[in-house]
C-alpha cells in the first residue's frame, strides 16, 4: 500500500467537512480523500494499487453507536452504516421485503457481511479482472487507455448497458433489490442532505466509465428509504453463480409481484451479474402487467429484458442464462404464499 494519512471523523458532518475537496479534473479517477467504513472494497483495492488515496477518513461508527434500521413515514429507513448482516437479519426486512434480506444474505461471506456497510456495498467496484490488474489498460482505471476486457476473458462481465469503452459488470446484489423496490438514497452534501431515487445513483459507462455514480466528490451516503409496499412480501432474490455460496452472480434476478387471482397487477424486476450498473428491467415489467403469469408469459418478459444484450465471446451464454434465471425467479415468486 502507498502511504496515506489516517483520520477518524468525529461524526458524519465532520467527515463531510474534511472530505469535501474542490471539484477538479480527474477528481473521480484519483480522489485524494476516501471514506473508510467496512473497508472490504477500499483496503482490497489499495493493496493492489487500484485505489491510492492520500487521506483515509474513517467513518465507521464506534461499537456503542447502534446503526439504525427503523420504520419511518412511508416506509423503512436503513442507515448507510448498518452492516449487511444487521440488515439481512432484521425482522422487518425479512418479513416485509424478502428480496432485500435474500440479496444481502446471498452476498459475500458471513465475515464480510459483518464488516461491510450498506452504503459501501452499493458503491463496491467492479470485479472485472482488467480493472483489478494494473498491468492491463482499463478505461475505468486509466481513462483513454483502452478496454482490455473486450477481446479478453469476459465470463463475469456485463451484456446490458455496456459501451465500446467498458463492459465491466456491477457486482452487487443488494442494489438490484433496492432498484426493484423503488428505493431512495439519502446523501449528505455540503449544502445539506438530499434524497433521490436509487435508480439515479449509478451511471452507465458510456464514454466515461471512470465516473460510476452521480455523487460529487466528498458527498456521503447516509441511508436508504424503502417505500411501503405490502405486496413486496411476495418477492425474492435468485442468484446463479459458479459455486453455490460466496461467489459473484453470473446472473441474478430480484423480483416482486403484485399478483391478484393469478394476474400480474404490477411486477418489479432488478437484474444482477449481467449489467454495467444496477439494472431495472422496465420492459419486462410492462410485458407482464395485466397478464396471467404463465411460464410462456414469463419467457416473453425475459426476452424483452435481454433484447438489447451485447455479448463478447465468453459471456455469450449470459443472455440465455439471464432469461432462464428471470423466468425461474418469476415462477418461484408466483408460487410463494406470503
Amino acid at each position: 500500500m502507498r502511504p496515506f494519512t489516517y483520520e477518524r471523523a468525529a461524526d458524519l458532518g465532520a467527515a463531510l467537512a474534511a472530505g469535501t475537496v474542490p471539484e477538479a479534473a480527474r477528481q473521480h479517477i484519483r480522489p485524494e480523500v476516501q471514506y473508510l467504513a467496512g473497508g472490504t472494497t477500499l483496503l482490497d483495492l489499495m493493496k493492489i494499487d487500484v485505489m491510492h488515496p492520500e487521506r483515509v477518513l474513517d467513518i465507521r461508527p464506534d461499537a456503542a453507536a447502534q446503526p439504525v434500521i427503523r420504520s419511518e413515514e412511508g416506509g423503512l429507513w436503513l442507515s448507510a452504516v448498518a452492516s449487511m448482516a444487521q440488515a439481512a437479519e432484521h425482522p422487518a426486512v425479512r418479513r416485509d421485503y424478502p428480496v432485500l434480506a435474500q440479496a444481502l444474505q446471498q452476498a459475500a461471506s458471513a465475515q464480510l457481511r459483518n464488516m461491510a456497510t450498506l452504503g459501501g456495498n452499493v458503491l463496491q467496484r467492479t470485479r472485472c479482472h482488467y480493472f483489478r490488474d494494473t498491468a492491463f489498460p482499463c478505461n475505468k482505471r486509466q481513462p483513454g487507455s483502452g478496454c482490455s476486457a473486450i477481446g479478453g476473458v469476459t465470463r463475469l462481465l456485463a451484456v446490458l448497458g455496456v459501451s465500446e469503452h467498458c463492459i465491466a459488470s456491477y457486482p452487487g446484489d443488494f442494489a438490484q433489490a433496492l432498484i426493484a423496490l423503488d428505493a431512495e438514497v439519502e446523501v449528505l452534501a455540503p449544502e445539506g442532505p438530499r434524497r433521490f431515487p436509487f435508480s439515479q445513483l449509478h451511471r452507465l459507462p458510456g464514454d466515461t466509465p471512470e465516473i460510476e455514480t452521480t455523487l460529487r466528490p466528498g458527498e456521503l451516503i447516509t441511508g436508504f428509504h424503502v417505500p411501503t409496499l405490502p405486496w413486496a412480501r411476495r418477492s425474492l432474490y435468485l442468484k446463479v453463480r459458479d459455486r453455490e455460496s460466496y461467489a459473484f452472480a453470473l446472473a441474478s434476478a430480484a423480483v416482486a409481484l403484485d399478483l391478484r387471482d393469478g394476474v400480474v397487477h404490477e411486477a418489479r424486476i432488478g437484474l444482477g451479474g449481467v449489467a454495467a450498473a444496477p439494472w431495472r428491467a422496465h420492459e419486462a415489467e410492462m410485458v407482464l402487467q395485466g397478464q396471467e403469469l404463465t411460464e410462456a408469459c414469463a419467457g416473453q418478459a425475459a426476452e424483452a429484458a435481454f433484447a438489447g444484450a451485447v455479448a463478447h465471446d465468453d459471456n455469450a451464454f449470459k443472455p440465455e442464462l439471464g432469461r432462464r434465471t428471470l423466468v425461474r425467479a418469476l415462477m418461484q415468486a408466483a408460487a410463494m404464499e406470503p
Partner: protein, 150 residues
C-alpha cells in the same frame, strides 16, 4: 486483545492481521490471501467474526479482539470447538484451521448451525484447500450442543 490492553504505535498501512502477527506475536490468525477471500485471518471483533486482513489496525482502536489464542479457558482447557476439531480430525495441513475454528464459534453463536446445509452456507467464507469440509461440518455439529449448554 484476548482480554488485555495493548498500546501500539504503527504506520497507518498496518492491518490488524499484521499487527497481531508481527507486533504482538499472535501468529494463530493466518495470512492466506490477504484480500478477504479465504477466511484464514478470521478473528472476533466486538464478538463478531471479521477478517483481520481488511481492517486497519488503527481502526481497531478501542475494539475487543479475540483470536484463536483467546478461545481456550485460562487453565488451558480447550474451547469445545477446538476439541471438536481434534476429535473429528477436521483438518489436514492445519493452515486454515484457526480461522475455521474462530468462524465456527461465531457460526454457532449466530444461530446458523442448525443443519449441515446451513453450516456449509454460513461457513462458506472459510476455504480449506485440503478440502476437510465434511469433517469441519461434523466438528461444528459436535460442538454446537456443548456450546449451547455453556
Amino acid at each position: 486483545m484476548n482480554g488485555d490492553d495493548h498500546r501500539l504505535q504503527l504506520d497507518p498501512r498496518v492491518t490488524l492481521l499484521d499487527a497481531l502477527r508481527e507486533e504482538l506475536g499472535l501468529t494463530g490468525a493466518k495470512k492466506g490471501c490477504d484480500h478477504g477471500q479465504c477466511g484464514a485471518c478470521t478473528v472476533l471483533v466486538d464478538g463478531r467474526r471479521e477478517l483481520s486482513c481488511l481492517i486497519l489496525a488503527a481502526s481497531a482502536e478501542g475494539r475487543e479482539i479475540t483470536t484463536i489464542e483467546g478461545l481456550a479457558a485460562a487453565e488451558g482447557v480447550l474451547h469445545p470447538m477446538q476439541q471438536a476439531f481434534i476429535d473429528q480430525d477436521a483438518f489436514q495441513c492445519g493452515y486454515c484451521t484457526p480461522g475455521q475454528i474462530v468462524s465456527a464459534v461465531s457460526c454457532v453463536q449466530e444461530g446458523h448451525a442448525g443443519s449441515d446445509a446451513e453450516i456449509r452456507e454460513y461457513m462458506s467464507g472459510n476455504l480449506c484447500r485440503c478440502a476437510a469440509y465434511p469433517k469441519i461440518v461434523a466438528a461444528i455439529r459436535q460442538a454446537r450442543p456443548q456450546m449451547e449448554r455453556g
